[in-house]
């Protein structure tokens, strides 16, 4: 790499280079309807960030926008100070479990190996070394013995662990997890939390879409409260409180209440 230009870029935006993820004024809309509105936040290295918000708040859309899977109307996203496409290998994505067909003829081990496909590159085969790494990641999640099982034979928790193992094997620095705790057993939940903490302690960053408000304070040090816009972003103990939650979850209902009220007024007037 050319040192001159690299140095120049660092000088231009030193802050962004250090942040695993920086989002400025991101706006995404589907069919002219905004789904994300002016989202701005910076995720720092070594943090576990809970992404919390009601259904349809744009949480998954945020992830897809970060990974350039959907077009955005405005704003800027920097991943390690760069475009996502240039830093792709450093970002691991765990999609929602329902996003794939679990009857697909593929084994759990093969699914985990998929985390290495972009590293392996075009036209090359999966080698024994790749399989060994996949198995090591499965070992970490306690599912190494399931490597040769077809994925339809796995339980919900085992499927989720398979997905997480696929993310781990990539040895990324930024992790985007879409509802990894949905419908998993207690043992799986514990092991996922353990793995996330290990990642954080190793200086990695994880954004985790999460629905169980009870466990947010114990799982995440940082929270992003999202409902079309960023309601609040910051340290969990500062931000995760009743007023902000009311704004996140209550916002829409308040509007609905007002609308209902207005209708009633029109009728009575």
């Amino acid at each position: 790499m050319n040192n001159g230009t690299d140095f120049g870029r660092q000088a231009l935006d030193r802050r962004a280079v250090t942040a695993p993820l920086e989002i400025q004024h991101l706006t995404v809309s589907f069919a002219r309807k905004p789904v994300l509105w002016d989202v701005t936040f910076v995720a720092s290295a070594g943090s576990l960030i809970g992404v919390v918000g009601p259904n349809g708040a744009g949480k998954s859309t945020l992830f897809k926008a970060i990974m350039d899977l959907i077009p955005r109307q405005g704003g800027e996203i920097r991943v390690f100070g760069d475009r996502f496409t240039a830093q792709r290998r450093r970002v691991a994505y765990v999609p929602q479990r329902e996003s794939v067909d679990w009857d697909f003829p593929v084994t759990a081990g093969e699914v985990v190996t998929m985390g290495l496909y972009s590293e392996i590159g075009w036209f090359r085969r999966v080698t024994r070394e790749h399989r060994r790494r996949a198995l090591a990641a499965m070992e970490r999640l306690g599912i190494a013995d399931l490597a040769n099982r077809q994925i339809s034979e796995l339980s919900g928790g085992q499927q989720q662990r398979t997905f997480l193992a696929r993310a781990l094997v990539q040895q990324a620095d930024l992790y985007l997890l879409d509802e990894p705790f949905s419908a998993v057993d207690a043992a799986t939940e514990t092991i996922i939390v353990e793995v996330l903490r290990e990642l954080r302690d190793a200086g990695k960053t994880a954004l985790v879409i999460h629905h169980d408000l009870q466990t947010v304070p114990s799982y995440f040090d940082t929270v992003l409260l999202l409902n079309l816009r960023v309601v609040a972003f910051g340290k969990t103990d500062e931000v995760f409180q009743a007023e902000n939650l009311q704004k996140t979850y209550g916002g829409r209902l308040t509007l609905l209440d007002e609308a209902t009220e207005a209708m009633r007024h029109r009728r009575t007037i």
Partner: protein, 447 residues
């Protein structure tokens, strides 16, 4: 001896089968990915929608072969895939409906064009649908001194093309088919892989339409992979198995076409049609025997469970009989009457238990051996434990207790029995008969 396969003529039938196998293998290979992506209908659509492309190319060049025909077909095929995708996104029409709209329209345009142009070009709409594989061996060309049917060469090229596409992009196709969104996040150009697949489907369809017709292509695209999915659990095995199934279907189809109608004194049937019927037949066969779909296996399990219950009832019946003080061996009719079961079933149970050493024959009747008595006692214990448990915990009416316990007893073994025993306090069942104790535990003193 009458021959099973009639009118076999190597120079003709050998080639027909070879062409059929190649076509089936090409189509089944690509079809696997379509079926996995739940796009089976797309293969159908493309193979129909290439018709206007073909027709225009025919009219343009006045020839049935050559590159313009392929090009026309590929353009029409891609148009189907793209137009239906566009309709789906923009028009908010669901995928099946979008494909239905696009391909029927294109197909109809194709038919009109063919009818219109038929006067000038030697082309028959029926031929497009059913193909003319029977005549394919007659249209020959010679390569390096070897003379072979043109259709064979074309199908071979297509098979090599499809196979290399799948081999070279195996990894990428797997991830893009299994998890398109994740694949895109990993930098796999999923839309381009999809388009590549569509182009190959169009090429396969146009290469096949002459020889085997567009209907058979659809059958070969969809049916072999759908069949293989009933028993495979790896992508590689799916691809190999569906190609083999397609090939077997092609062989069986042609043999059936030339032989089957002759047995009934009819003239030979359409080979393309028979091949499609053969792969359909394979699907039904696999459905019956495969462990996953396994209609036969499920039927067997159901039957063996019913037999087990019926058999065990015979044991329990003999136990209760001796409990009531009957000393003489039980006669067959007596057991049948008590159980209300057919003599055949009871006889079957007796035969089975005699072989297991649970029953012995004595004085025109049947008696439990020591081990038979033990086994029967376990059953009766399970039954009465359940009756007591249900009566104590669910306050079930007494007349329904027996019925419930009757089915539960057959699924209860020692561990569950001891847990049941812990839960209940009584030593007699709700009808007042004592619950036999577990073997190996001391009998409680009874007053």
């Amino acid at each position: 001896m009458t021959r099973i396969i009639t009118d076999w003529y190597w120079p003709l039938d050998g080639w027909i089968i070879a062409i059929g196998i190649l076509c089936a293998a090409s189509a089944a290979l690509l079809g696997s990915f379509l079926v996995l992506r739940r796009l089976s209908l797309l293969g159908d659509s493309i193979s129909h929608a290439i018709l206007p492309g073909l027709a225009l190319a025919f009219m343009w060049t006045a020839s049935r072969s050559g590159w313009p025909v392929f090009a026309g077909a590929i353009v029409a095929g891609l148009l189907t895939a793209l137009a239906s995708q566009w309709l789906q996104q923009r028009g908010r029409v669901d995928e099946g409906a979008a494909l239905g709209v696009v391909f029927t329209t294109l197909f109809a345009i194709g038919l009109i064009l063919i009818n219109y142009g038929a006067a000038r070009v030697d082309l028959d709409p029926g031929c497009v649908l059913y193909g003319a594989i029977e005549f394919a061996p007659l249209d020959r060309l010679s390569i390096a001194g070897w003379e072979m049917p043109r259709a064979f060469v074309v199908q071979l090229i297509v098979l090599v093309l499809n196979t290399s596409f799948v081999l070279v992009l195996h990894k990428e196709l797997k991830i893009a088919t299994f998890a398109p969104e994740y694949a895109e996040s990993q930098g796999i150009p999923v839309p381009w892989l999809h388009r590549g697949l569509m182009v190959l489907v169009a090429i396969t369809a146009v290469a096949s339409f002459e020889s085997v017709g567009s209907i058979l292509v659809v059958a070969m695209l969809v049916v072999p992979p759908a069949t293989a999915l009933l028993f495979v659990n790896r992508l590689k095995s799916l691809l190999i198995a569906s190609m083999l199934l397609g090939a077997v279907g092609a062989i069986a189809g042609h043999l059936a076409a030339i032989s089957l109608p002759k047995w009934f004194g009819l003239r030979s049937a359409s080979t393309a049609g028979m091949m499609a019927v053969a792969v359909g037949g394979l699907f039904v066969l696999v459905c019956l025997v495969s462990p996953r779909c396994g209609l036969l296996a499920a039927g067997y399990r159901g039957l063996s469970l019913r037999l087990k219950i019926a058999f065990e009832d015979v044991l329990a019946c003999l136990y209760r009989r001796s409990e009531r003080g009957a000393r003489s061996p039980a006669k067959l009719e007596e057991i049948c009457n008590r159980l209300g079961r057919s003599p055949f079933l009871v006889q079957l149970a007796i035969w089975r238990y005699r072989r297991l050493g649970l029953l012995v024959h004595s004085q025109d009747g049947w008696r439990l051996t020591e081990s038979g008595f033990e086994r029967a006692e376990e059953l009766v214990r399970s039954h009465r434990l359940w009756e007591t448990y249900l009566a104590e915990n669910l306050a079930m009416p007494a007349e329904r207790l027996h019925e419930a316990a009757e089915s539960l007893e057959h699924f209860t073994a020692q561990p569950l029995r001891s847990r049941l025993a812990e839960e209940i306090s009584a030593t007699e069942d709700p009808h007042g008969t004592p619950i036999p104790p577990e073997r190996g535990t001391p009998r409680k003193p009874q007053d």
